[in-house]
């Protein structure tokens, strides 16, 4: 397990790209000031206040000069400012914070990896913000963060989160919002406390003097009254003034021209833009109109849109003129946001119907040389679904539909795909979407369609039953196979493996996984490396299917590979899923401590990456509940089961359902409710093939019910039908035989259990107790006592209590007699924590739990502790719960008392 814990804190985790897609580095760049930029000292000195207030807001209309003002100020700082231009395409808080953390790092702010990283676009790990705030608050000098175009952030949750971080980071953070609209933060409160620097539209407006200076920079000299008139007409609007200068300087008599403009009654931007546009050569106009369909562009991409080769010099020229385009660095440009919209309107008027074609051309260019996300966006905008789905599949990115920051965005994007789009790639995307929502019927139907299509493309068609095999394994030896087909077939293999897992058909999963392995060898290595989630999902599904089949060693081999893979948001889901399933295997083998550690790691991983709470952690909680039952901590078991019941059905598969049935039935059994136990255990889990351990565990519960109700013979019969391969079942059968008055048969069964091998204390302790009971029945008290003592020793480390409680009245005198000597025995039967001195606590407290505990001792309230530690109240409650559990107490006063006894305080 050491490997697991290590990989969990892998420092590269948070640096790793959250989605395999590169961070758009242009978004971290402080925009360059054009040569005609005019620095206005009154604004700069006002903005200097930003260094002294937690929050600064620069707001004003589009083209008011907000961004350039802040960019100029930021560039003059003596250390880098974290700059992030928000993006309209990313709606969820998860993506925003992923980028914000990256912006801080890009500006040289070192952030520890423990802060974590969102792995889900719409969610932020609950502790991430608290950890970030705590980290920032501990700094000597505040981090300056600029969020440009904040008006694009429409999720109200983001405002709450920023507010939280601002509040708790104290003097460690200076946040500057550049926005067109008033943000949803409680500005009045900041204002009242003097914590807000505000630069609004009126202040940004150019005065007549400033306007004269600006026009001068553009090589235009006007008499004072003319400048005043212009300022009046434009309202001191920076973009308007700049356009005026550009339009007028071409004229033989600028002054007269500007007089006409003053008299004209068109809207300012509209008029000026049309003027300036019409002044450009036709090629330039064409470029400007066509790029209006793109968020950002570079010369080669523009050439693809215009089908010419002159975009490079044209863009450079436009940037020099500072007319329409802004330079983002690295050869990337964008239109000034104000003009994009107007230019698009002109494009629609001049070339109706050209827009989809432009999107299509952009998509094709981007597919060859741009980011996949942008390709998909443009392809979808063009309505070319075969292309868009093909791009996703060919990039080996099908895993994105299941996991990671973009899964929701992609689901939304492909939800617009109509039924008319045809081809294997679209069917694969449809199947993946349906399967990810656990719509099995439709998912499997689409998968079958995709396979039929693939088999068709591969040549000779197969019979209806062999379609999957034909699609996956046909014609291995053909050389020069088209790479696209490898990607489609590999995607198909992933979905087949998932289908095998979900339908409880291990054979299907094995065949698909074997095909996938061969396909992986043929796939370009760099693409597979870019998509670690593909392999991780494949192995997690395969491991789960093997687990269902009862092939624990093979399942562990696949699942461990995922669990120990390097950390990262892309594979977080799969790792957590695999960890929880490894935990189940340990539980079934009888190793409670190991099961608990892995299950907890799985649940923690969920929290760290802010995965949707009820993802795979449902399985982790089920295992923890089952462990709690064996430790006779029934209240906790019940609480965990209730939490797991809320789990997303999206990750329910037969393994999870069987796990739930077992944990629930065992809890009912422990509480003596035999009828409920039967009901839970016998609830059918739909699956193609039966699972040996699920059957065995069900039989164990049923047999235990018969024993409890005094029908030992029936109990024997129930287990006789189950394979005695499973040690737990053999031990259960032995117990039933003993109760039915056949000690020899019982001992025979126990002798048949292989002593070496996988059985852990939960199995071996039960076996020892059956032997002890047999010895007791035979009058051999000495042997019985020795066996009970051995059982107690073996049970101690895992805190195992249930076997002693369910053993029956015969054990009581032994435990009572041993009480003075074996302290653990006392605890085992009285309900105190099962451990012996000198190790009175089962588990060490974590650093954070000690922090909470020490504050508890100062009689601080939960809220006070939360504020003091910069964490949420819920986090404190979670810590408190684990402190209580580890100290085996239920109240704060008891926790403090016990902690003092144990010298923890």
């Amino acid at each position: 397990m050491a490997g697991l814990e290590e990989s969990d804190t892998d420092p590269t985790a948070s640096y790793a790209d959250p989605q395999g897609d590169p961070f758009l580095r242009t978004r971290f760049v402080v925009p360059a000031r054009p040569v005609t930029f005019l620095r206005r000292e009154r604004l700069v000195s006002h903005l200097d206040q930003a260094l002294h207030t937690p929050l600064t807001m620069v707001n004003g209309a589009a083209g008011a000069g907000k961004t350039l003002l802040v960019a100029d100020w930021a560039a003059a700082r003596d250390r880098p400012v974290a700059w992030l231009t928000t993006d309209a395409a990313e709606q969820g808080p998860g993506m925003l914070w992923a980028y914000l953390l990256q912006a801080l790092r890009a500006a040289g702010t070192t952030l520890p990896a423990e802060i974590g990283c969102p792995a889900d676009a719409s969610r932020v790990p609950p502790n991430l913000l608290a950890r970030l705030a705590a980290e920032l608050s501990a700094r000597d000098r505040p981090a300056i963060v600029v969020l440009d175009e904040y008006d694009r952030v429409i999720d109200p949750e983001v405002a709450d989160q920023l507010e939280f971080v601002l509040h708790h980071a104290g003097d460690g953070l200076r946040l500057i919002l550049v926005t067109r609209t008033e943000p949803l933060l409680p500005l009045h409160r900041y204002r009242a406390a003097g914590d807000l620097t505000e630069i609004r539209g009126a202040e940004l407006a150019f005065t007549a003097e400033e306007a004269a200076e600006l026009l001068d920079l553009h090589g235009l000299r006007l008499p004072a009254h003319a400048t005043r008139g212009l300022v009046e007409r434009t309202g001191g609007w920076a973009a308007g003034l700049r356009l005026c200068a550009l339009a007028a300087r071409e004229k033989p008599d600028p002054e007269t021209y500007l007089k006409e403009f003053e008299a004209d009654r068109s809207t300012v931007a509209d008029f000026l833009l049309a003027e300036v546009l019409s002044r450009q050569p036709p090629e330039t106009q064409d470029v400007l109109l066509r790029v209006s369909v793109l968020d950002r562009f570079r010369p080669e991409l523009v050439n693809a849109l215009t089908e010419r080769t002159d975009a490079g010099p044209i863009l450079a020229g436009l940037h020099r003129q500072n007319a329409f385009v802004e330079h983002l660095g690295q050869d990337w440009y964008r239109l000034h946001p104000l003009f994009g919209e107007i230019l698009r309107a002109h494009l629609r008027m001049r070339s109706p119907g050209l827009e989809p074609e432009l999107h299509r051309r952009a998509a094709h260019w981007l597919r060859g040389s741009g980011s996949l996300t942008e390709t998909l966006g443009q392809g979808a905008a063009a309505g070319d679904w075969e292309f868009t789905a093909g791009a996703l599949i060919d990039d080996f990115a099908i895993g994105w539909l299941f996991t990671g920051l973009r899964s929701e965005e992609l689901a939304e994007l492909f939800s617009r795909m109509g039924p008319e789009a045809a081809g294997p790639a679209t069917d694969l995307v449809r199947a993946a979407r349906d399967l990810s929502r656990r719509d099995l019927d439709r998912g499997l139907r689409h998968l079958r369609d995709a396979e039929r299509g693939l088999a068709g493309e591969l040549g000779p068609t197969a019979g209806p039953d062999a379609v999957a095999d034909a699609a996956l394994t046909a014609e291995w030896d053909t050389a020069g196979e088209e790479p696209g087909l490898v990607a489609a077939r590999l995607s198909c293999a992933l979905l087949e493996t998932l289908a095998g897992r979900l339908t409880g058909a291990p054979g299907r999963a094995e065949r698909a996984a074997a095909a996938a392995e061969t396909l992986c060898d043929r796939a370009p290595a760099h693409l597979l490396e870019r998509h670690p989630e593909l392999t991780a999902l494949l192995l997690a599904h395969l491991g789960s299917a093997r687990l269902w089949a009862g092939h624990f060693d093979e399942a562990c081999a696949a699942l461990s590979q995922v669990a120990e893979s390097s950390a990262g948001a892309a594979t977080a889901h799969a790792r957590e899923d695999s960890l929880a399933r490894l935990a189940l295997i340990d539980y079934l083998d009888g190793w409670l401590g190991r099961a608990e550690r892995k299950a907890r790691a799985a649940v923690t991983a969920t929290e760290r990456y802010g995965l949707p709470q009820p993802s795979g952690s449902g399985m982790g909680r089920l295992v923890l509940a089952a462990v709690a039952v064996d430790r006779d901590d029934l209240g906790r078991a019940r609480a965990l089961l209730a939490e797991a019941a809320g789990a997303d059905p999206a990750l329910a598969d037969p393994v999870m359902e069987a796990g739930r049935a077992i944990a629930t039935a065992r809890l009912h059994l422990a509480r003596g409710d035999t009828r409920a136990a039967l009901e839970a255990a016998e609830r059918a889990v739909p699956a193609t093939v039966a699972s040996p351990w699920a059957t065995g565990q069900t039989a164990l519960v049923v047999s235990a019910v018969h024993l409890a109700e005094g029908r030992p013979q029936t109990a024997v019969e129930v287990l006789a039908e189950v394979s005695d391969e499973q040690s737990a079942c053999a031990v259960g059968a032995a117990r039933a035989q003993l109760a039915a008055g056949r000690p020899e048969a019982a001992l025979d069964l126990l002798d048949g259990v292989r002593s070496e091998g996988r059985a852990g204390p939960a199995v071996t302790v039960r076996a020892l107790l059956v032997r002890a009971q047999a010895a007791d029945g035979a009058g051999d008290t000495a042997t019985s006592r020795r066996l009970v003592a051995q059982a107690l020793r073996e049970a101690r480390r895992d805190g195992l209590r249930r076997p002693f409680l369910e053993a029956g009245p015969w054990i009581r005198p032994f435990l009572d007699a041993m009480a003075p000597r074996v302290r653990a025995a006392d605890r085992v039967t009285s309900g105190a924590p099962a451990s012996a001195p000198p190790l009175p606590i089962v588990e060490e407290l974590s650093g954070r739990e000690r922090d909470v505990l020490s504050r508890l001792a100062l009689t601080m309230s939960t809220e006070e502790i939360a504020a003091d530690l910069f964490v949420s109240v819920n986090t404190v409650k979670t810590h408190l719960k684990s402190v209580y559990r580890k100290l085996a107490v239920n109240r704060r006063s008891d926790a403090v008392r016990r902690a003092r006894e144990l010298k923890l305080l």
């Binding site: 209309a61 589009a62 083209g63 067109r180 609209t181 309202g235 609007w237 973009a239 308007g240 009654r265 068109s266 809207t267 300012v268 931007a269 509209d270 008029f271 049309a274 946001p337 104000l338 994009g340 919209e341 107007i342 698009r344 309107a345 002109h346 629609r348 008027m349």
Partner: protein, 65 residues
């Protein structure tokens, strides 16, 4: 629900195309855009569109049906 949005200045032919769902009339140095608005989301969308075009909104009101 029917709305009218009054903006400062005369809108060009190209710019009115940005509001294909609305009719418009130009009068005394102002342009009035009017027509059916589907819901609140649409309404705020229209305002955002005005803002991104650099238009100054002078008035916005609901019209009787």
């Amino acid at each position: 629900m029917r709305y009218e949005i009054r903006v400062d200045g005369h809108l060009s032919e190209a710019l009115t195309r940005v509001f294909p769902e609305l009719d418009h009339v130009v009068m005394s140095g102002q342009t009035v855009l009017f027509g059916y608005v589907v819901d609140e989301a649409h309404l705020y969308g229209l305002l955002a569109r005005c803002q991104s075009l650099g238009l100054r909104v002078l008035e916005m009101r609901q019209l009787p049906e």
